[in-house]
């Protein structure tokens, strides 16, 4: 997909962004709505700068990200062994797969009111939502990845005298890793949606969702838009850089996926 860098594409992209900002600016200044509801660009920028300077945006972003990472870590610890087990053992697959298929189509946020009744509002419920949201893409990816390991590799490794541990560490794990990283990527996307929803509904102390929700009470569209920009920026950073780096450092280096041409 990636083409060479082109000044023309950059200029057009900049023109597109400028056009959106200009339309917004015209709309905001037209006086159709009060500036509290549609603040002009420079006031969004100055609010954003203020929120960065007084540390509220970074700190709340950190709180949100910590929830995402705790959730993803719990998810990883449960989903990876479960996925491997399901792929390696037919009995385990028959036991767990039906349960997963029943839970999979239920959106994580549908559980929030129930979780709030059971566990109260706050961090616990928000992290639980993240775990629920992130769990299914990961477990299905691990399951698929381990099943997709070339059987010849397994047989050759066994013939060459690999025991269960070596087989897993040297063959199954590296072979399944592209799938697992894809799963993590999907999981992060789901977790990111889940955490914002959880913060809106389960009202923990800090967090980006919490800022947006509070800003609504004060009709403060500037704060909401500034936070949205922050949410988008963090999303891109993770999608583009963090997972790309993870991929480069592992599967691409081992030559498991075609890196150079893609």
């Amino acid at each position: 997909m990636r083409r060479g860098f082109s000044w023309r594409a950059l200029a057009r992209g900049a023109a597109g962004v400028a056009a959106v900002l200009a339309i917004w600016e015209g709309f905001a200044r037209s006086g159709m709505f009060s500036t509290a509801m549609t603040p002009p660009v420079e006031s969004i920028a100055s609010i954003m700068w203020q929120m960065i300077a007084d540390g509220s945006l970074p700190l709340n972003a950190l709180a949100t990200l910590i929830r995402v990472f705790i959730g993803l870590a719990i998810c990883f610890v449960i989903a990876v062994p479960l996925g491997v087990l399901m792929a390696r053992s037919w009995v385990a697959e028959r036991i767990f797969l039906p349960v997963l298929s029943v839970l999979l189509p239920i959106p994580s946020l549908a559980w929030v009111p129930l979780f709030i009744l059971w566990f109260g509002i706050g961090d616990f419920v928000t992290i639980l939502v993240v775990v629920y949201a992130a769990f299914f893409p990961l477990v299905y990816s691990v399951w698929t990845g381990v099943r997709a390991v070339n059987p010849i590799w397994l047989r050759s490794a066994i013939v060459m005298g690999a025991d269960e541990t070596t087989l897993f560490r040297k063959v199954i794990w590296p072979a399944a890793l592209p799938y697992i990283i894809t799963g993590l990527r999907l999981s992060f996307g789901r977790a990111w949606i889940g955490v914002i929803g959880g913060e809106l509904l389960a009202s923990p102390k800090f967090g980006l969702g919490e800022i947006i929700f509070n800003a609504k009470e004060f009709l403060d569209a500037g704060v909401m838009l500034a936070t949205l920009v922050g949410i988008g920026a963090i999303g891109i950073v993770f999608e583009r850089f963090v997972f790309q780096m993870l991929e480069n450092a592992t599967v691409r280096r081992w030559g498991m996926v075609a890196g150079a041409q893609s």
Binding site: G13, A110, V112, L114, I193
Partner: protein
């Protein structure tokens, strides 16, 4: 033997889970309002199903889903095709789409309430906006992935712009577009349930869960969640599997 075990094992799992739940409800010492027994849940489900409450909520939710998703599908496919076919559209829109794509739709919800108020229309608008980016990106990738040799052959054989689009580009990109629509629908569905909790709409499945929380009606919540799961499965399995079967699978573009 293997087949018998294959059926017995899932049954066993569900029995164990059901038994554990029943034990927790009966002997766990939790208030029955919060952890109702299986009998109560089943009874509530049947009651709500037979007196039409669940059906009315489901219809309201599905109507919102339909309108919102239609919006996303139309905008998404049109923008995606324009981006795939014209380089300058791609260059102009790609940064904006890339930036907006990872923002969870739900994060816009309070802003939409501020701008458009509560109720149906903002809900549908939000569902449409938040699920259209998935459709845009997949459609764009699909149009980009059309084999250049097909385009050149069609050109050589004298296909005009219209024929080229209708006979070559659209069918070739369709598998991707359908994947985008399928993912978009799933996303719209998940977002909608949550948005209904925030937008205080008139009726709806998400609203029902949220409303039941106020009265500690755990049995109502669980019944609604069960229905949400069933509708989710139907949307995923029936709607798109069928569309795929009559188009791309029949044309031999993807394996069934």
């Amino acid at each position: 033997m293997r087949r018998v075990i294959g059926i017995a094992l899932p049954l066993m799992t569900f029995t164990v889970i059901a038994a554990a739940w029943q034990l927790l409800a009966t002997y766990g010492g939790f208030p029955p309002k919060l952890v109702p027994g299986l009998g109560t849940i089943a009874e509530t489900f049947l009651r709500l199903a037979s007196n039409g409450v669940l059906a009315a909520a489901a219809v309201a939710t599905l109507y919102r889903l339909g309108v919102g998703f239609l919006l996303a599908a139309v905008i998404g496919v049109l923008v995606g095709i324009a981006m795939g076919r014209r380089q300058w559209v791609e260059d102009t829109l790609l940064p904006i789409v890339t930036f907006l794509y990872p923002i969870p739709g739900l994060a816009y919800a309070p802003l939409f309430v501020l701008w458009f108020g509560l109720g149906d229309i903002p809900t549908m608008l939000l569902v449409g906006v938040s699920s259209c980016f998935t459709v845009i990106i997949n459609t764009w990738k699909g149009v980009k992935a059309v084999k250049p040799i097909w385009l050149r052959s069609a050109e050589v054989m004298g296909a005009g712009n219209r024929d080229m689009f209708r006979r070559v580009v659209l069918p070739a990109a369709l598998p991707y577009i359908l994947v985008g629509l399928r993912l978009g629908l799933a996303q719209a569905w998940r977002i909608l349930i949550a948005v209904e909790m925030l937008m205080s709409v008139q009726r709806g499945l998400g609203w029902m869960i949220f409303g039941a929380q106020t009265f500690l009606n755990t049995d109502v919540m669980l019944s609604t969640i069960a229905l949400i799961g069933m509708i989710g499965i139907l949307l995923e399995r029936q709607v798109f599997a069928r569309i795929e079967r009559v188009t791309v699978v029949r044309w031999g573009m993807v394996a069934a």
